[in-house]
């Protein structure tokens, strides 16, 4: 039976992600509730890099977990590729990269990448080939059989990136993925990420509390207020890449820092 035409869902595929009036509270030990997100609405246009910039505790990770379908909003809706997260979503089209690299210590680099392919019915050989290709993409082609403890922080980060890319996701959720790297390695990772983004054209949601990182990477910046997280400012960054150290980028960073200083004294950088 075909449903009447008026009821056919036409998911809006121009938005990779859409947050509509999302609120979230967590129960507290004392019986009260911790309000983490309040009426958050914004879009992630397909193919764009959107940076969520907010102080620690403003609910950024909570928001990503909602986008990944790990948490449900109390109020409002989260749409992934036009489909509500509470309904049926093809989760394989999402990649997730955590703040820590979260590599399994008992697996080699290539097997860590391959983990993301072990959900479905992909054969051993295809898994190996695709994982190896992904490692090469992030510049670690020669390190397939290295264990995590044999790799530097930057290399581990690359393996984690390869793992989140190996499923060729349309949307990549990144939760402060480079915050534990030293400045130089972080800059290298930014360059890599932008290169891969140019090649693949996926949508990226990049959570950070670092103003400079947001300015270097993002097409759009969504700035959150301190807890409860609300959208404080949304702006488009229309500067050409690479942006690191350019006068325009520097002045934008300064401008945003000033805005933050006006918003709250306790922004944790």
């Amino acid at each position: 039976m075909t449903p009447p035409a008026a009821h056919v869902a036409h998911p809006d595929q121009r938005q990779a992600l859409a947050f509509r009036h999302v609120s979230k509270q967590f129960p507290r030990g004392d019986g009260g509730a911790l309000e983490v997100l309040r009426d958050v609405s914004f879009d992630v246009p397909a193919g764009s890099v959107v940076s969520i910039l907010g102080p620690s505790g403003s609910g950024k990770s909570t928001l990503l977990n909602m986008a990944a379908g790990l948490l449900a909003p109390d109020q409002g809706r989260v749409l992934v590729l036009g489909h509500e997260t509470t309904g049926t979503v093809d989760w394989s089209r999402l990649g997730y990269m955590f703040q820590d690299d979260r590599l399994l210590p008992w697996r080699t680099a290539i097997d860590n990448v391959g983990l993301a392919l072990e959900t479905g019915s992909i054969g051993r050989r295809e898994k190996r080939e695709r994982s190896q290709a992904q490692l090469s993409l992030v510049g670690l082609g020669d390190f397939a059989s290295a264990y995590p403890h044999q790799l530097s922080g930057g290399m581990r980060s690359r393996v984690a990136l390869a793992r989140s890319l190996v499923t060729e996701p349309d949307i990549l959720l990144m939760d402060e993925p480079f915050s534990r790297l030293d400045a130089q390695t972080r800059t290298t990772m930014h360059t890599e990420l932008l290169r891969i983004h140019r090649e693949r054209g996926m949508s990226i949601v990049f959570v950070t509390h670092d103003v400079e990182e947001a300015v270097i990477l993002a097409d759009h910046i969504v700035m959150f207020s301190p807890r409860p997280g609300r959208v404080h400012t949304e702006l488009a960054v229309e500067l050409p890449h690479p942006r690191l150290g350019t006068p325009d980028a520097l002045s934008l960073v300064a401008e945003l820092r000033a805005a933050i200083a006006g918003m709250s004294a306790d922004w944790v950088i």
């Binding site: 990944a68 790990l70 955590f98 210590p105 008992w106 697996r107 959900t119 390190f143 044999q150 790799l151």
Partner: protein
């Protein structure tokens, strides 16, 4: 980029280590031989005499039959302990209420002497292979449960979250996250349990069996055949050393080659 440089810490080489161990062995034998000159053979037989006895036992087939009888019993008790202990440990570890309810049982079980288990076993099973098997089981079980339980507590919640983002089923999460996380704990528990099991099986066999190394030790001692007692002792130590060096140590190195501290 090149492959990561291996940071090799210089430990004594294989050859030097072997030489050292042989020297130690030689020293012990010489000391034994010197002492045996001063003592009557029923107190301390000479190494040569024990070696002769050992050869005799080996030739008659007695040696290997009894060693394997005992080994088989240890393995049987150990296997039952694994079959009960692994799911038991996982169950206790995954259910807090159940865990705290049964928690006192394990230390109590650990304090019960293997001689007491052996006496109960004789009451229940008489002189039968079940007696040493039961004693091994009761000794190995708490060790395996405790270690697997600890292993479940040590599973990193972040890895489980990773499995959620990858949409792994419960079974897949168990297989790919829990099992590898628990394995080192299981292995050290199993190793301990096997060593203990071997020792207590001898006690059980001296009390309630009609074959096996323990039984033969008892028999030899009743007849004051001190050279035989020595021969059996040496044979069983040698067997444990072979299992340890030839099987368990390489297995551990292979299974945990991903660890920083284990170098192959």
């Amino acid at each position: 980029m090149r492959a990561p440089a291996e940071t090799t810490i210089r430990t004594p080489g294989r050859a030097t280590l072997a030489a050292r161990r042989s020297a130690l062995l030689l020293l012990l034998i010489v000391a034994w031989w010197a002492a045996s000159l001063a003592l009557p053979p029923y107190v301390l037989p000479s190494p040569a005499r024990v070696a002769q006895r050992l050869a005799q036992l080996a030739e008659s087939g007695d040696l290997f039959t009894n060693l394997f009888t005992t080994l088989w019993r240890v393995l049987a008790g150990f296997a039952v302990a694994v079959v009960i202990g692994v799911p038991g440990g996982i169950l206790l570890g995954s259910n807090r209420a159940l865990g705290s309810f049964f928690e006192p049982v394990l230390p109590v079980m650990n304090t019960v002497s293997s001689a007491i288990w052996a006496i109960f076993a004789i009451l229940w099973f008489g002189l039968s292979p079940l007696t040493p098997i039961f004693v091994v089981l009761m000794t190995a079980l708490p060790l395996i449960i405790t270690n697997v339980w600890q292993g479940t507590q040590a599973v990193n919640a972040d890895y489980v979250e990773l499995a959620h983002t990858l949409r792994f089923s419960r079974f897949k999460t168990l297989l790919k996250i829990y099992v590898p996380s628990i394995l080192p704990y299981f292995f050290s528990g199993a190793r301990l349990a096997f060593g203990f099991g071997w020792r207590v099986s001898l006690v059980a066999e001296t009390l309630g069996a009609s074959s096996g190394v323990g039984y033969r030790l008892r028999q030899a001692s009743d007849l004051i055949q001190t050279d035989q007692v020595f021969a059996w002792t040496i044979a069983q130590i040698a067997m444990m050393v072979v299992i340890e060096i030839g099987l368990l140590a390489p297995l551990e190195r292979h299974l945990f080659r991903w660890r920083r501290d284990v170098r192959t």
